[in-house]
Symmetry: C2
């Protein structure tokens, strides 16, 4: 016996995204059948591209701190300079590893900056400046263009301490509370729920990534079956997922 399923549907037919692209229009054109309660998961990469966050490494002049961190980590000093520009502080710097806290409060490797090593065109792609604002804007566009109340989650792949590999997390969201609150509820054994606040936005990002063929480059995945989580308001955004530094034992 099975209940109603959750579906994750990768969106085909999305064109290459360039700076200035209107993601709402591109997604609405690729998926005319968007429904109320859908959760539209968008890979950070295309949000950053649309928002003009590409940087040419030739234009970057590394300062003294970047030079020192480059020596320590073995990373390109120009890339380190870009990372420092996006960071409030360095959490760990070791050979091959540079983990920072971004101005937006994300703790991640390399401030989330991706590199392109196409010969002769070394570029870096920064995270969106405010991924929650990006999600809100895109949600507003989809509401206007498709006439539906959907949620939007902007996803990126983060490594984790203690566990190998990467998992996608929500760096921005709108129309969904990133934490579901079950505190005080009990399961059918009368046991307090061990996971009282599931980080549903992060779990949504992980589910979307599973459905995606990375090489084919399918940056948008629609999750259907999570209507219970989709709100009329934009909500607090993925900012609500940030553990306050005072409450964090690993920073």
């Amino acid at each position: 016996v099975s209940l109603s399923a959750l579906e994750a549907i990768p969106l085909a037919g999305l064109p290459e995204v360039d700076a200035g692209a209107d993601l709402g229009q591109l997604i609405a054109a690729a998926e005319p059948g968007l429904r109320h309660g859908d959760v539209v998961c968008v890979a950070q990469k295309i949000v950053s591209k649309a928002e003009g966050r590409r940087r040419d490494l030739c234009d970057v002049v590394p300062g003294a701190e970047a030079q020192a961190l480059s020596a320590r980590t073995g990373k390109d000093p120009r890339v380190v300079q870009l990372i420092l520009g996006e960071s409030a502080r360095v959490i760990r710097a070791e050979p091959g590893v540079l983990i920072v806290e971004t101005h937006g409060g994300l703790v991640c490797a390399n401030a989330g900056i991706d590199l392109s090593n196409v010969p002769g065109a070394d570029t870096a792609l920064l995270l969106p400046e405010d991924p929650d604002a990006s999600a809100r804007r895109l949600r507003g566009c989809l509401r206007t263009l498709c006439g539906v109340t959907a949620a939007v989650v902007v996803t990126d792949s983060f490594g984790r301490p203690w566990r190998l590999g990467q998992s996608d997390v929500a760096i921005g969201c709108a129309g969904i509370h990133p934490l579901e609150d079950w505190r005080g509820r009990r399961d059918r054994d009368g046991r307090e729920l061990a996971a009282a606040m599931p980080a549903v936005a992060d779990q949504i990002a992980a589910a979307a990534d599973l459905a995606r063929d990375k090489v084919a480059g399918l940056p948008v995945v629609i999750l259907r079956g999570l209507e219970r989580l989709v709100m009329k308001d934009d909500g607090p955004g993925a900012a609500a997922l940030r553990r306050p530094p005072t409450d964090d034992l690993f920073r």
Copy 2:
């Protein structure tokens, strides 16, 4: 335009699981339509129950180390004693927080022990002794009973440093490699993949949890559409997700 979807289907009709229960038979009876390539996600709770991992707190005598850690964390000294029995070492102990590395190499709060506070019957539920072995056994049963090659993932909810809330991860698996290896592959921009080793078993656990209604207590979720990941062999298990301590900056 949408491609083939990933589906997460919670399984209804599973009875209460007691010590000694045959999970394979229970799941095969509840889902006679199990298919080749399905991924059967099973919450740790019912695996632990079936394996007799419930402990009565009345039977636990806390030693000196448990008493000291109880004073520091504010946790019940009997619970701390159980946690220490499951742990290779303590990673952090602060008021309200006890993070350990289990004998099995998992870094998590309280050694993954859940508590039941039913008045007069305080019990604790330990993690399965070897969740990869649990997954392999269950997979073998499902192969025999249903005649299909499915994968099994044993899931639990873990907190994360830096981010609030919990996300489900894979503590055991069989029939799937927990890490997909895209190292050296490039996306259609020619960019090296930023997430070269997606922790697919953890992402599977997260997707399964999203599909589950916690209060209804639906501990089994079937993921369909991940045939590409399901192998004939049992594979290395979730043990392959453990970051070696020498490679870990946060332990």
